[in-house]
Subunit: 83 residues, 2 copies
């Protein structure tokens, strides 16, 4: 089963990397960009039947810093058969 | 309009960060993880009507390193009205 985890900074947490990218885009002539936030994407192949609870625990303990980050778990279609 | 850009390493490109995370997950007792790949997520607010071509150019020129990375552009539902 393919799982995608998106980790993003919580609203209100300063994102200097996003700000730098925003500034660069403007410098390159791309107007009309309002806000840029940068996060992480983690794609994993896990065995079918891995529970949501297990995935949540992985995120809380390792993949995201819960003090400043939120995460979202997406199960992707076109699952790889591992069972 | 909210746009999400996912930047991931091309297949075959070594991902040491993903490997380290995979190793840590195993060390923490999470079995059943087959493969871990780590990429970037860039979320932007752009004005409505921004063309796909413009978004592609942003990715190719700044947001992704086309030598080793691929990107995917997702337009998110629940668009913010800026027009």
């Amino acid at each position: 089963m393919k799982v995608r985890i998106l980790v993003r900074l919580k609203p209100g947490v300063l994102d200097p990397q996003g700000r730098a990218v925003h500034h660069s885009l403007e410098g390159m002539g791309f107007d009309g960009v309002d806000d840029v936030r940068i996060g992480r994407m983690i794609e994993m192949d896990v065995v079918d039947g891995t529970s949501d609870e297990t995935l949540n625990t992985m995120c809380e303990k390792l993949l995201a810093n819960m003090v400043i980050e939120d995460f979202a778990i997406e199960k992707l279609e076109g699952e790889k058969e591992t069972a």
